[in-house]
């Protein structure tokens, strides 16, 4: 049996613009994923903790506040430290191309800017999680 993908969708930082996070969460649910909605105003520590306990395949962060250069690396560091370095960290928001490059160099996955489609996002998560599962030798 195909195991459903588990994803944590969360909004770190202080802004409350959760339109993107909610729409993405709904799209992932409709693509058959189990989406753990982590809610608003979360700290990197809480997000990493949730990701670990829920044993998710991927974490999607929505960041519109401009604090992405602080928040993505922090979550990544905490995931690695907790032994969850297999988790795909992805997300979206208003992130300039140079910053995207810098974040990807630090092990963050693809990041989706304004104008990205839900289909792109869902397909990316499916493909990347599939790849990681195959590489890990688990179904």
């Amino acid at each position: 049996m195909e195991q459903p993908i588990r994803v944590l969708i969360a909004k770190p930082g202080l802004d409350g613009h959760d339109r993107g996070a909610k729409v993405v969460a709904a799209a992932m649910r409709d693509a058959g994923m189990e989406v753990i909605y982590g809610g608003l105003h979360q700290t990197p520590e809480i997000i990493a903790e949730m990701a670990v306990q829920e044993d998710v395949d991927a974490v999607g962060l929505s960041i519109l506040s401009g604090a992405h250069m602080t928040l993505f690396p922090e979550v990544k560091k905490l995931l690695d430290a907790a032994g969850a370095d297999h988790v795909l960290l992805t997300g979206g928001g208003i992130i300039p191309p140079d910053d995207i490059d810098a974040l990807q160099a630090k092990g963050v996955g693809r990041l989706f800017g304004p104008g990205s489609t839900l289909v792109e996002l869902v397909e990316y998560v499916q493909a990347e999680v599939g790849r990681r599962r195959a590489a890990a030798g688990s179904a």
Binding site: D30, G32, E34, Q53, G83
Partner: protein
């Protein structure tokens, strides 16, 4: 530390016992997905189980179960007890996906290592919901949690079964949450060991308590066996100390008079029955290749090119195929 995916059963058991969170989470995934490794691991740790106190919490959506669980957990943390929580939410019947939001309700617990929260969807679970929640509760027990709570929405039989599969079952209701008739229909009235009337800050509490009392009167339960009815305001923490006290008292009483051991035995029997049921079903459908048999038998129906099929006839054919195959196996 071995990468999780390569970890052998015994090592993962050891890591769960040592309290490691990722290990605990992965063991739960094995359990949830019916991974054969879970059964292997289980054989290695079942003798260590039984320390944790298990509560089932159920009730209609929006009654305040998650808020209440958070408050109880905070209270227990104050008493230095560790807590494990399993929050079960429905899966979308259309897409098989799920949006699990209970964690948001329990935000204050997020950073406390003494609390482990796991969200679960009702489907995507192999071999029945209660089978999976039992296993996950066991993992929390193994992980050294003192109090293990399983929250389910009291909407259907399988959810109510989950709540029952515990040392003590709490049924949470709230005024304005529709009629108590609704709760009765869902089978909630029978499983309650404690009633919690939450949202006591809202009008209609007294009426709801009265309705519950009336129902218990009608059912003619002896006074000493009657589930107590407690009122709470979960959002403000009112009544939580009393509720936690009642939980401890009920558990202690049941432990003393042997009811707890009896119930655990009963739960275990039911659980084994579930496992057998699950295996049998798997045997029939998957191992004996009968899913394909079903598909063949009904081929062409959707496209309108097939002949009409008798549901009873085909079912009987499938079963006799199975019996023949099994017979062949026992002969061999």
């Amino acid at each position: 530390m071995t990468a999780l995916d390569k970890t052998k059963e015994a090592e993962l058991v050891a890591r769960v016992k040592a309290g490691e969170e990722v290990a605990c989470a992965r063991m739960m995934t094995w359990a949830e997905r019916g991974d054969p490794r879970f059964a292997v691991a289980y054989d290695a740790f079942h003798a260590d189980l039984g320390r944790a106190r298990r509560l089932g919490i159920t009730g209609p959506p929006g009654a305040g179960k998650s808020t209440l669980v958070e408050r109880l957990a905070l209270h227990w943390r104050g008493l230095d007890r560790t807590v494990g929580i399993v929050a079960v939410d429905p899966t979308s019947p259309f897409t098989g996906g799920a949006l699990l939001g209970d964690r948001v309700r329990m935000g204050e617990l997020s950073l406390d290592k003494g609390v482990f929260i796991r969200s679960m969807a009702t489907r995507g679970v192999f071999g029945g919901l209660a089978r999976a929640t039992d296993d996950i509760a066991d993992v929390l027990d193994l992980n050294g949690r003192d109090m293990v709570v399983v929250e389910t929405v009291g909407v259907g039989q399988s959810e109510v079964d989950v709540a029952k599969s515990s040392d003590l079952t709490l049924v949470v209701l709230h005024p304005g949450g529709g009629d108590t008739i609704q709760a009765m229909k869902a089978g909630l009235m029978e499983v309650a060991d404690i009633y919690v009337v939450n949202k006591a800050d809202r009008p209609g509490v007294d009426r709801l308590v009265q309705q519950l009392t009336d129902i218990l009167d009608v059912r003619d339960i002896p006074l000493q066996d009657r589930p107590p009815i407690l009122t709470t305001v979960a959002t403000e923490g009112t009544g939580i100390v009393e509720l936690a006290g009642q939980i401890d008292a009920s558990l202690a009483e049941r432990e003393a008079d042997g009811r707890l051991a009896g119930r655990r035995g009963e739960n275990l029997r039911r659980r084994i029955r579930r496992i057998v049921d699950g295996r049998l079903r798997q045997d029939v459908w998957e191992l004996a290749g009968l899913s394909e048999r079903l598909d063949q038998g009904t081929a062409g129906l959707e496209s309108g090119t097939g002949a009409s099929v008798s549901a009873y006839g085909l079912a009987e054919e499938i079963l006799s195929d199975y019996r023949e195959r099994r017979h062949g196996e026992t002969q061999a």
